[in-house]
Amino acid sequence: MEYEKNAKGMVFDIQRFSVHDGPGIRSIVFLKGCPLSCHWCSNPESQRPEKQIMFISHNCIGCGRCTRACPTGALTFNPSFSLDHEKCQRCGRCVDVCFSNALNMSGEIQTVEQVLQELKKDNLHYRRSGGGITLSGGEPLFQPNFARELLKGCKAKGWHTAIETTGFAAASVLESILPWVDLILLDIKHMDGEKHRYYTGQPNQVILNNARIMGSYGTPIIIRVPVIPNVNDSIREIQDIAEFALSIKGVKELHLLPYHRLGENKYQYLGYNYKLKGIEPHNKESIRNLQKAVMEKGLACKIGG
């Protein structure tokens, strides 16, 4: 199979031994950049398409070398760490001198071939476990050329492929990618267009339309719903999503992903504000009730990925 080995993309992580995003043992390639900006996003560094500096304060030994290395004066330590995003040119010099990994650059341009080299390392584990590769993000469809060539490359090696997507993309982009995808993990956050726009920054119309397109391809689809307190956690809201899911061909299951705060410290690292501060995750009980509500509609439902 032909694919463009040198196609380039912005990748911010490759996570091996992922067991919650598709069957078996998988590697997830995280592509940077997302058209949505969900308040609860657990990978805030995935949202912007360009490289970003992350500052992990508890790793800092206070040596001051970063400030001296910075050619633009974007970095100061007075009275505490601050990074002037206007001034920063993302040259990475500060990261180079920060041996304690307090400063990290999120995002790296990589070729399809480079990514495949890394993915190949777990080839044996994919085979043993019936696993494969999942493209996630950010939004993988946001870098359509790279995503497509990478998926083709994976198929050329005989791997099972999945994408985890918000579904927010031009239909033509989606259709150029679907032939190389074995499983779609489609996030649906809300059926109410207004609420969707408020919490994610985008309307849901495109997403719902794309869901129908995906269905027409016959590719298996798992609908994934991040369950967020006070956003979409009523029985009715979840059942609305379940009903929509049932109308899509190819949908076999719905997964409820309970809200967690594991991404919160990354907001700090990036100097962002965390909008959901203080919100308590659900207890087991209430998530179980939502699961029941989905199953009542006649759709298989799992908690967690």
Partner: protein
Amino acid sequence: MNLTELLKIPEEKGDNCKMPAEFSQLSNSLPTQRIQKLIDDLYSVTPEIEAERAILLTESYKQTESYPTIIRRAMALDNILSKMTIVIRDNELIVGNLTTKPRASQIFPEFSNKWIVDEFDTLAKRTGDVFLISEDTKQSLREVFKYWDGKTTNELATELMFPETKAAMEAGVFTVGNYYFNGVGHISVDYAKVLAKGFNGIIAEAEEAIAKADKSEPDYIKKHQFLTAVIIAAKAAIKYAKRFAELARKLAAQTSDAQRQTELLQIAQNCEWVPANPARTFYEALQSFWFVQAIIQIESNGHSISPMRFDQYMYPYYKKDISEGRITQEQAQELLDCLWVKFNDVNKVRDEASTKAFGGYPMFQNLIVGGQTVDGVDATNELSFMCLEATAHTKLPQPSISIRVWNKTPDELMLKAAEVTRLGLGMPAYYNDEVIIPSLVHRGLSLADARDYGIIGCVEPQKGGKTEGWHDAAFFNTAKVLEITINNGMANGKQLGPKTGEFTSFTSFEQFMDAYREQMKYFVSLLVNADNCVDIAHGERAPLPFLSSMVDDCIAKGKSLQEGGAHYNFTGPQGVGIANVADSLMAIKKLVFEEKKVTLAELKEALDTNFGSCEAPKSGAKVNLNLNNLTQEALVEAITKLVLEANKASLEDLQKSANIKVDLGSNGDKEYLRQMLENRAPKFGNDIDEVDELAREVALIYCREVEKYTNPRGGRFQPGLYPVSANVPMGAVTGATPDGRKAGEPLADGVSPVSGRDKKGPTAAVNSVAKIDHHIASNGTLFNQKFHPSALAGQTGLENLSALVRGYFDQKGMHVQFNVVSRETLIDAQKNPDKYKNLVVRVAGYSAHFTSLDKSIQDDIIKRTEHSL
């Protein structure tokens, strides 16, 4: 139960083995009430020290001064077994006690005894593994120990050792502590033979050997003595069993409980018949087995007496009973469960320092299921599953249960094993036939014997019933040798090794590697001297006729195990700290020679000052311990002090200044250098070829040196790469290393990556570790993996775990075991973050080191843990 695990998650291996809530969902059946009662009774009292064995042993020794040693040993065993208090505990179906009280410990003064007197008054007060001791017991033991002054194996071994060997031990290069202070153990006898022939059969065999021997041969005299000793010991075992028959009848007559009366009469019938005669039923076979297991551990306190392939040699008895309708599967399971509880009645008192590393009274009775037959056919049977089920039922540390895996192991067995793994006991351990069989063949075993291997103690493969493997011969500190190389052969201000060049004079990485190789060569030769001295001491002072009677070819050769009677003889010392040495070499190679980011002089100064945190030249110099008189465990005591001292100066100050722009001066520079060493050179465990190949090379340097040597029993040395817990005390006596490890910090565990440095998850770690040549480390390698239960949730979790094991084994890894960390562990990790640096939590697309997370988020994860089970 593997020791390393006991170390890492002590709270789960403690005394109170409560059944967790999730158990009932994971297990296929529930244990009977009897089992819970047995467990409750076993754990209802604090273990005690008992003097009975020591007294009876000494009493006999005093009467046999003029006899040959082997006869004296047999007569002493006879005296003990004839006179010791025997008990049948409530609800027991399998009987045979080592001590009067449950989980008590006898004393074995013939190996060493001075430390016991020293700790008389603290045994009951220490924080872990407490033993009560009465004033009477103390008095009796004091009396007994007088007799043993100068007569112990420990004293003879010390006498035999070369001064340079002792100096190397004192500096912490290696320790032979285990057998230096205790019995050897680490063996599996031919249980099948005892079950099939009984001790009467063994007596007949010995008598025949005497009859057949040529009286004019010069070695006839010693042969005759040995065989006579075997007969005395075997008869003593039979007598011991008959005492139980008598006791059972007596108790049966006294009880008013009709059901218990029937049980006791059955017990009486069993003990009357076995182990003297061939077992006729599954129940008799279990009883016969237990007598063997118990008496071996009365004869000597060497631990790791391993039942090995129990599902194989017990199967004919089980199958016959089932097919003849004599027993149901449920009844058989209950008997197995009873035996599993019994395994935990065996105990051993250790000195206080050791208990910090050996928390939870481990005995390492390794029992392995599955694998293949001598003909190379899959060996899995119903008992394989039932053994795993017994572990799930009892949820106790003993027996250490293991599983042999090969290409044809049925997935059902893998999934059953994964279920038990998920219980969080750290068991079963998984072993790879596809590596172990060829590696044993390479060591001279026949193919059939190699296919019949089992595991001793932690991870050591051997053919049971034919081998004196001396598997836990020593721990060798490969990182200390690196430190010595950096110091041109010096340690603690003394020239210990050859002069291989000033560190600052090396002009290429290869030059430095050559120097390291030369130092390794020298110190391994001293290690061999130490082991052989201890070996000879055991042969001269503590040959074991009972144990020898059940291992081939002792009877045929007319020689005890300790004098070379076994068919296969090995000595297996372990290399420790491979990952630290590999990471250090990588840092030197890359940062000094390739990128020239730091000079050798700068590096040396940073190491000498422990990265600026102390002025004293070396941490090793600060340890005021006589390593010559130290078990590998005893060093632990020094750790706390060392680690505290090592870290005191820098960290806190640095953290305080974290958010302020300051230059930290020269100490800050050294910390900065340390950060560079730690974070700017690849680390073993992340599937990076460059450094993984160095790890492979370091392991090979050690292994190839060790395998050159022979032992006094006529066998070869064979290397292992596992630490038990020695990575902690050995780290305590090792100065700062070029991988950024501070003085006193623990070394890496087995072939596992340095704790916390494998950042790319289990598959990357597995791939890295598999790059080491496991075939040559035929005394065993140990690889620990930790998991959060969320990664193993549901059926898919079990499948993924089993796929990971298979994936590791496809790449020729030898052993792996899993710590599945529970909610309780997470809570403990929150309180003691330093102990859990390596704990990675994975949820959806995000993973993090648990200890780096904010407390509130940790709380979240703790909550989520309940979700995932």
